[in-house]
Symmetry: C2
Subunit: 248 residues, 2 copies
Amino acid sequence: MPVPAEAGSEGTTVKQRSIPEASVARLAVYLRMLGELAEQGAETVSSDELAAATGVNPAKLRKDLSYIGSYGIRGVGYEISSLLHQLERALGLNHRQAVALVGVGNLGHALAGYGGFGGRGFPVTALFDVDPDLVGIHINGILVDHIRAIPEVCAERAITIGVIATPAQAAQGACDLLVESGVRCILNFAPVVLQVPGEVEVRKVDLAVELQILAFHVARRHLTATADVVTEQMVNGHAVNGSGGAHS
Amino acid sequence: MPVPAEAGSEGTTVKQRSIPEASVARLAVYLRMLGELAEQGAETVSSDELAAATGVNPAKLRKDLSYIGSYGIRGVGYEISSLLHQLERALGLNHRQAVALVGVGNLGHALAGYGGFGGRGFPVTALFDVDPDLVGIHINGILVDHIRAIPEVCAERAITIGVIATPAQAAQGACDLLVESGVRCILNFAPVVLQVPGEVEVRKVDLAVELQILAFHVARRHLTATADVVTEQMVNGHAVNGSGGAHS
DNA sequence: AGTCGCTTGTGAAGACACGCACAAAGTTGC
DNA sequence: GCAACTTTGTGCGTGTCTTCACAAGCGACT
Ligand SMILES: NC(=O)c1ccc[n+]([C@@H]2O[C@H](COP(=O)([O-])OP(=O)(O)OC[C@H]3O[C@@H](n4cnc5c(N)ncnc54)[C@H](O)[C@@H]3O)[C@@H](O)[C@H]2O)c1
Ligand SMILES: NC(=O)c1ccc[n+]([C@@H]2O[C@H](COP(=O)([O-])OP(=O)(O)OC[C@H]3O[C@@H](n4cnc5c(N)ncnc54)[C@H](O)[C@@H]3O)[C@@H](O)[C@H]2O)c1
């Protein structure tokens, strides 16, 4: 099945019939590490090296990469610039995705001023709030608009991704506005479960939950440490994200 | 299962012999929703209601809850206050976990000032930075110390969880300091893979990765939308965390 | 008491993810 | 040109997570 020997459907019709969700998250991590390696002047990298650098099992890494095609050279490794380009294509980064941020409070300010988004192909091009003290000011060169301008501005600037950093009780309203305006992907920092139509995808970043997961492991660790004496702990190791998730 | 009273066999230790990682993340979400319901004065809740409110499959929710014991009443649902208490116990929230935050920049400021942590049993009780302009000031009533004070302060205030919000290149150093000081659980916001000894658990929150995952779905959506016409999209819906994803 | 309706808890099956291990395919050295 | 070595790509067994479906348990009503 995933052995379509035929290279027939190469360039145009992207054959990426379903990359596993878990793999997509890791591909993004490989992408960043490849960027760093490229900056350092490296030309090729082996799966073992890249796996060690990203904290992933080498076989898993190769399988992840195989979902986007066979761009490795046996006996050598992967050519970094080429792989980088293929990864960007596969992740949909060939055309920049404009991001709108709703709620410019403590967290929103930090996000708006963060260079790591624009630098990775996600320029924050719209900011919204309701606070009259905020509406009208510029942050990092971007004007803060009132949320009633969301439909207009989103259409005008071709917003594809919305980020919600409002208080919890305002999040659903902000979400509804974004969805009405055609936004189909939302990153939510408010601790609420957003109700959205089926075609809209929501990812939630919940920092309190992250801490609770850690606290759970602290507690468990403590229990096993006091109960069994020095029962060797699982060798495996890390948990991630996300996720990862995410967080782990 | 209707346990054979004898816990003798393998269960030498605690009965919570391993709650699946994915379930732990969701239990934290149920916990918050239960808190809200309790505030609203509700006394009981059924798995269907709670599942709808948290965006989870009802069967999955029941199975998650079954890992911490049988606290439901058939034909009725779950008594909220009782379930809340059991959840807190299972997640290790009976005793508060003190949190240290390293790196009080844009993001660190927002985190330090966030009431949602202390309110959920995770008081941020220590702040660290290297910037002379920051060391010595108070944020939200907490003094910012120099990172060289990490070992001393962590021991003194019984820190169990560390949060890293430094620039990427400083993250590993901050991590090492925390680990040396006995911290065994770390939440990392810097876009690097931390190297830690096996007994330390790291969760990473990587916002750029979150955006890239969304971008991937935008791209995919766009492809299928132009290729097939209105092919019915998957009904499932949301993705979480990460954990995830970990959480990820 | 008996019956009925509702909800939990879980067995079992399916879906998914992981990682080993190895053949295929390349490179290097002679 | 051939043999030795390196590294990719993947088939497959294993384990974890998800979901369905239903018996068992509980309360309410008659
Ligand atoms: N600050 C953190 O570190 C942190 C951490 C985790 C989660 N969060 C969550 O992120 C969200 C924002 O946190 P914060 O600390 O920035 O809060 P904040 O109160 O500092 O900022 C909220 C901002 O949203 C604006 N706002 C209020 N109602 C709005 C509406 N209807 N539409 C648009 N904007 C509106 C406010 O004017 C304010 O500027 C909260 O839901 C919080 O739970 C924050
Ligand atoms: N700001 C955001 O919205 C955002 C979003 C995602 C990820 N991040 C990540 O979080 C981290 C912090 O981001 P930021 O925007 O707050 O950066 P920032 O530059 O505003 O803050 C960094 C802080 O860390 C301090 N610092 C530097 N070296 C240190 C060291 N060795 N020990 C302790 N503290 C040190 C600095 O003095 C500064 O106060 C970065 O790694 C960034 O990539 C930030």
